[in-house]
């Protein structure tokens, strides 16, 4: 009979497979470490595939270049959407979940076999879907709206990825359970784990929607069951499609808090507020499917208004709370370190050369100022009339998912590779500029798309010349998008090469600390803990969030004005 201790979740129990990190002093479960590595490597491969697709698409929509023929254009859009929005992000999120459940809790991973099953299903599913797409048997876009029909293996691949992810989420919750049971930690969950848990709860709801919509579509594609209603499909599919983006938001916010701690030593001003905001995500974000049905038939205006506003914008409130608490925690930490000059003096002393930090900071700014403001505005029921299916929509979500989530994930990778793969980064100079290039490129992409969309340019269309409806301004903005895409994809490829090169050739870290990226330094005037009860000390954050709210209101009401100028319609 095995003793209780070998089954215990605690890493310091006899027989537990773990090592002690030379940088943080934290215990690392070796099983968790293996699956963090596997999932992170798979994620990077899909990121690279999606990035190659991105440049092909951008150079096609840039009308002066117009690279791809029409059939390959639609094929590559389908490929790009699934690899970026589903495969890259889900694999990375599984790595984040395995990290958040084990290392901060000093726990082992619940099950190695379950992690293998999850990884195997996700990988087989993703490869299957990609092969079917590239064979030209699924030119249906990521959304695959019925009655458009793809090869059955396209749906089966997506189902495998979704179920594989659900199994990983189960492994996450089971790890939280055994850690609590065996008291590997005392008290409440650390905030990063709490945020990851919020993401995992939303992921379960999301993936169940995926199963509800994809299974009957799969059986229909085999000819076993009748065709599902196309409107029903749209509603449930977006329960998967939009909500999965809220998983990303929760994971991204958790990473903001984590990097704030790693690079600046930031500590939440009020844990209750941060945790409450995550609860708001869980409660209200599942209404988001409505954002895609605002000009659809079959659903009433009252239904559209209630759902698109997440019940009075309570999930938007959550993001606005994080938009304050994250910079506030950083500002308080900086002021306590002695950087207290004026309102913004602390900002110049931040570790901007640390790529993990700069990626997280840019992620927060791009997500909030561009992605958030446009998202709420375009998702306003009536304003959607002048935005639905135009380039304004990808203009919005490239700021949230790419400028926000992907950039935050890149920032975390600058810590994951030294700490988990135990290799110091190669090309450190390149690493320091990479987040800036990526963020700048994506901003150009987002602006180019948004302005072209405001001029009526449709998303997901191969050639805009037939319509004869677009002038030089629309072409200029598509060119701006193309230039931005070149910069962003260059930066993305450099990032992947750096990561792969580091994993293969980076200097090994065994028992010593990682080469530091740079943290915020303390001055002689530092007074640790002095601002713990100074509730008005975050002057810079108050100024920045005021500017944010002003931008938000101007953009929001300018769009109502633009709507008032079009033909009356009921």
């Amino acid at each position: 009979m095995s003793t209780v201790s070998t089954n215990s979740a605690a890493l310091d129990s006899p027989g537990a497979d773990s090592r002690t990190c030379g940088t943080t002093g934290l215990k690392v479960c070796l099983a968790a470490q293996r699956f963090i590595k596997l999932n992170a490597v798979a994620a990077l491969v899909f990121l690279l595939l999606g990035g190659i697709a991105a440049i092909l698409l951008a150079l096609t929509r840039w009308q002066a270049v117009h690279l791809l023929p029409v059939d390959w254009f639609y094929r590559i859009i389908t490929f790009h959407g699934l690899n970026m929005l589903i495969f890259w992000i889900l694999f990375f999120e599984v790595a984040v979940l395995y990290f958040a459940a084990t290392i901060p809790l000093k726990s082992r991973l619940f099950s190695r076999p379950v992690a293998w099953v999850s990884f195997g299903m996700m990988l087989v599913g993703a490869v299957m879907t990609n092969v079917v797409i590239l064979q030209g048997k699924a030119d249906v876009m990521m959304t695959s709206y019925l009655p458009l029909l793809a090869h059955p293996l396209f749906y089966l691949g997506i189902i495998l990825v979704a179920v594989g992810t659900l199994i990983a989420v189960f492994n996450f919750f089971a790890t939280l359970f055994i850690a609590k049971r065996d008291k590997t930690y005392e008290g409440s969950l650390p905030l990063v784990t709490y945020g990851a848990m919020a993401a995992a709860v939303i992921a379960v709801i999301t993936l169940l929607h995926g199963a509800i919509v994809m299974v009957p579509t799969f059986t229909y594609s085999l000819g076993w069951t009748p065709e599902p209603d196309p409107m029903w499909y749209r509603m449930i599919w977006w329960g998967l499609g939009h909500m999965s983006q809220q998983v990303n938001v929760a994971a991204m916010v958790a990473i903001w808090y984590l990097i704030g701690y790693l690079a600046v030593g930031a500590k939440p001003v009020n844990e209750t507020v941060c945790r409450g905001a995550f609860i708001l995500y869980i409660l209200f974000i599942n209404l988001a499917a409505a954002h895609h049905l605002l000009v659809d038939p079959g659903v009433s205006p009252a239904w559209k208004m209630w759902n698109t506003s997440y019940a009075m914008y309570l999930a938007v409130l959550a993001s606005m709370i994080h938009a304050f608490t994250v910079p506030a925690s950083v500002e308080i930490a900086m002021r306590e370190k002695g950087h207290s000059r004026g309102i913004f003096g602390w900002i110049t002393a931040l570790p901007w050369r640390n790529p993990g930090f700069s990626a997280a900071a840019l992620s927060l700014v791009i997500f909030g100022f561009v992605g958030g403001i446009t998202g709420v505005t375009l998702g306003t029921q009536q304003i959607n009339i002048i935005a639905h299916n135009t380039m304004r929509i990808p203009g919005h979500f490239h700021a949230t998912v790419v400028g926000g989530t992907t950039l935050a994930f890149m920032g975390l990778t600058y810590y994951v590779i030294p700490l988990i793969f135990q290799r110091d980064f190669i090309w450190r100079g390149m690493a320091r500029v990479q987040p800036w290039l990526f963020g700048g490129g994506i901003l150009l992409v987002s602006f180019g798309m948004s302005f072209a969309g405001s001029l009526g340019v449709s998303r997901r269309v191969h050639d805009i010349e037939y319509a004869g409806a677009y002038g030089p301004a629309a072409h200029l903005f598509l060119g701006l998008m193309g230039i931005g895409a070149i910069i962003a994809v260059f930066s993305l490829v450099a990032f992947v090469l750096m990561c792969v090169g580091t994993v293969l050739f980076g200097r090994k870290i065994e028992g010593r600390a990682m080469a530091d990226w740079g943290v915020a330094e303390s001055t002689v005037e530092a007074k640790p803990g002095s601002l713990a009860h100074a509730h008005w000390a975050m002057k810079g954050t108050m100024a920045l969030t005021s500017v944010f709210l002003l931008c938000f209101a101007v953009y929001y009401f300018a769009n109502w004005k633009a709507l008032a100028d079009v033909w009356p319609v009921q």
Partner: protein, 174 residues
């Protein structure tokens, strides 16, 4: 200390600037929530989603009847149809054209029925950039009042196969 267990007794109400920001953000959320019902009753542009179930055959039949009754001409083989002001008009979306061409009068109001006979399509009227979703099986009624004159292209903005970008229709307003 986001990576570590929080201090005991971490549960406390927001204070100071944080409390103020939460209040301001909540007010802004309510303003945005109230804008939509306000515009629904007082604004002129709404997507009310008036909808009836219809089969592709029945919708095509109604459209053919509408074309036969109101035809005033033809452009490149496509009939031009002028409905009486205030009446119902029909517009079929299909791979890959919009049928027929509608001729409307400035300042008059029309009930435009839109449906698809095959896939999802997107009604996108340029250059005003007004967009509505068109689905098979759903008769989506848009009550529209043109306020400018000219020829306005309708483009399809929901992917519908290889000819998607060539699916261009027209509304003429005089």
């Amino acid at each position: 200390m986001s990576l570590h267990v929080p201090e005991k007794n971490w549960f406390r109400a927001p204070e100071g600037a944080e409390k103020l920001w939460i209040g301001v953000a909540l007010v802004w959320c309510f303003v945005m929530s109230l804008m939509m019902p306000y515009w629904h009753f007082r604004g002129k542009q709404n997507a009310k989603g008036e909808t009836y179930a219809v089969s592709a055959e029945a919708f095509m039949e109604r459209t053919q009847q509408f074309v036969a009754d109101n035809r005033v001409g033809e452009i490149d083989g496509v009939p031009v149809v002028e409905p009486a002001p205030g009446s119902d008009a029909y517009l079929v979306a299909r791979m890959w054209d919009w049928y027929p061409i509608l001729k409307l009068r400035e300042g008059e109001t029309y009930r435009i029925h839109m449906s698809s006979t095959d896939l999802n399509h997107g009604f996108s009227l340029q250059p005003m950039n007004m967009n509505f979703q068109v689905l098979p099986g759903y008769d989506h009624v848009i009550t529209m009042t043109p306020t400018t004159t000219g020829e306005f292209p309708i483009i399809c903005n929901e992917f519908c196969g290889i000819g998607h970008d060539r699916m261009i229709g027209k509304i003429i307003v005089e």
